[in-house]
């Protein structure tokens, strides 16, 4: 951690032997993510990592990086980045209209960048989060086995915070070599979101505490995504729900859990959610549909559908098989 601190000060720009990327613009909310941390919940450490883990894994596959490689996660609007080395990279997730030196480049494909090139992004059209994988060793340290940033407690990633304009990030090595171009078209976020934003859920521990009328409203109406969303969760707008318990004593929660606070409006928890919560848990979005949930942005509309645990387990297994193709 200490060395990365020293080299990222602006005064070291002149160092020629180091490879770096420079952020002219940071984008709306850009952090280093990747694989999360599991096994530290007893210390209140959330799993974290890339919200859209599938897009994240695919980006590392396309750039010929290991699945453990840290990636950049952009939200809503992407950054403008200058490279001072040749590298392989790739972009997946939501389409933020990437360009290299003002010329559009394709997503879901192995790409090459040359020293001095500028990679820029605009605003997202469909979806919410975009992933950039660069095939080089980023000079940052792991915390509890992961590079992922958790901005709420300032750890992981680059100094535990989001990327700011003027940040230099240093790389230890860069090797390009001859690489065949890889593509992964069929997993594009556009296709997933076109499917109609039906999120399948399984029953949560307090499911039966909700009134049957509330449950009917929950499954038969559309919810919209409010402006209150971040890496921890999404507040929804729509039909208000009532349950016989308004507060439970703090109990375990996970990404995907739908909890309903006192105002009756459901919250979907995402990757950076706390380990415990005090609101009744109506259900959990199945693993297989978390990719859609992770790409929701304000005003998007969704409907919920309940499925049995057995089906959810089968779909989860299928998703893992699918992910393994890229590892």
């Amino acid at each position: 951690m200490k060395t990365d601190f020293r080299f990222t000060e602006k005064g070291f720009r002149g160092i020629k032997s180091m490879e770096w990327i420079y952020f002219h613009k940071p984008g709306f909310f850009t952090t280093i993510q990747g694989i999360g941390r599991s096994g530290y919940s007893e210390f209140g450490i959330p799993g974290g990592g890339s919200v859209d883990f599938l897009s994240s894994v695919i980006s590392n596959y396309l750039s010929y990086s290991g699945c453990d490689n840290p990636v950049f996660e952009f939200t809503l609007e992407g950054p403008t980045i200058e490279f001072n080395f040749d590298s392989i990279f790739s972009i997946t997730g939501a389409n933020m209209h990437p360009k290299v030196n003002d010329l559009p480049v394709e997503m879901y494909k192995t790409l090459f960048v040359k020293k001095g090139d500028v990679l820029s992004f605009g605003k997202v059209s469909r979806g919410f989060r975009t992933y950039l994988s660069i095939n080089s060793k980023l000079n940052i340290a792991k915390f509890l086995g992961s590079f992922s940033t958790y901005t709420n407690a300032n750890y992981g990633g680059y100094r535990g915070r989001q990327i700011k304009a003027g940040d230099y990030l240093y790389y230890e090595s860069a090797s390009v070599g001859d690489k065949r171009i890889r593509k992964a078209k069929k997993d594009s976020v556009d296709d997933l979101l076109k499917a109609g934003n039906v999120l399948r859920i399984i029953e949560g521990p307090e499911y039966s505490a909700f009134e049957s009328n509330s449950l009917k409203r929950f499954f038969n109406s559309e919810y919209s995504v409010s402006k209150k969303l971040n890496r921890m969760g999404i507040r929804l707008e729509g039909e208000r729900l009532e349950s016989s318990v308004t507060n439970i004593s703090s109990s375990a929660v996970l990404p995907g859990i739908i909890q309903v606070p006192g105002d009756g409006l459901p919250i979907i928890l995402l990757a950076d959610c706390q380990t415990t919560g005090g609101y009744p848990r109506l259900g959990k979005i199945i693993d297989a549909d978390m990719i859609v949930a992770s790409q929701l942005k304000p005003i998007d509309r969704i409907v919920f559908k309940k499925i049995p645990y057995k089906t959810a387990e089968r779909l989860s297994k299928r998703l893992r098989k699918h992910i393994n193709k890229y590892i």
Binding site: M1, S38, G39, Y40, S41, E42, F43, G44, I45, F143, L144, N152, A153, N154, Y155, G156, G160, I202, E203, G204, P205, S249, S250, S251, A252, L254, G256, I257, Q274, T275, T276, R281, K284, I286, D287, Y309, A312, E313, S316, K317, R320
Partner: protein, 236 residues
């Protein structure tokens, strides 16, 4: 033991319907046993007041394992427990809610503070923030509800009360607990090789310090030179 489902791989084991120190002791003892015997099959395990959350790894025979786990008997705790001595400055600089609380509780601020630090609290579990300890059994005379409107920012180190619970904000965070003091000690130090300064199941005893001592400890803490005083404790 009641078993509920939380996710594809996650289960919640309710050890007792009560929320008290005995139930929490049973919960933590059982957690240790499960961890020791079945840890290799789990991607995560943690407890709250009276529940254990177990997350199985993919591709393990979770139904069979769960069946074995529910048959375990919680035995008395193995190994010893510790008390962490945590300095707190209860002066008005760091305790925005102390005077209002004291007034509404018909207590002097000194009395309120004394009733807070005289007790040894058990760490029932950690949640909400990294290393945020959920301490319960606050003296009945100083129990006080959460703030109606949570603060957007509660400073790191703030010591708060919410009903029968007390806890420490380990990083700057939004929060609704009533703030009565601040500790200069970091309980969560991500830069350290040993980032977690407290363990669930152990105990916390607060002790009051003056402002000068607060800043002295704060400086030592910044330099990673402050050691939390610990003592063995047989527990409640």
């Amino acid at each position: 033991m009641q078993v509920g489902r939380l996710s594809e791989n996650g289960y919640i084991l309710r050890i007792s319907d009560e929320i008290n120190i005995e139930a929490n002791n049973l919960t933590q003892n059982l957690l240790r046993m499960i961890k020791k015997k079945y840890g290799i099959y789990l991607s995560d395990i943690y407890n709250t007041y009276n529940e254990i959350c177990v997350i199985f790894k993919n591709n393990c025979r979770k139904k069979a394992l769960l069946n074995e786990i529910t048959k375990l008997d919680s035995s008395p705790a193995e190994g010893s427990r510790e008390i962490y001595y945590i300095p707190v400055h209860y002066g008005h600089e760091f305790s925005p809610d102390l005077s209002e609380m004291a007034e509404n509780l018909n207590l002097g601020a000194d009395e309120l503070v004394y009733l807070h630090y005289k007790k040894i609290y058990k760490i029932y579990f950690i949640g909400f923030l990294p290393c945020f300890p959920y301490l319960s059994d606050v003296d009945e005379r100083i129990r006080y509800g959460r703030k109606k409107t949570p603060r957007l920012r509660v400073e790191k180190g703030s010591v708060g009360i919410a009903n029968d619970q007390t806890g420490i904000y380990t990083v700057d965070s939004p929060g609704g607990w009533q703030i009565i003091g601040r500790t200069p000690v970091d309980l969560f130090v991500p830069e350290s090789n040993d980032p977690f300064k407290i363990m669930p199941g152990n105990y916390i005893k607060f002790y009051p310090v003056g402002l000068k001592e607060f800043y002295l400890i704060r400086q030592l803490s910044d330099e990673n030179r402050f050691q939390i005083h610990r003592e063995r404790f047989s527990g409640y």
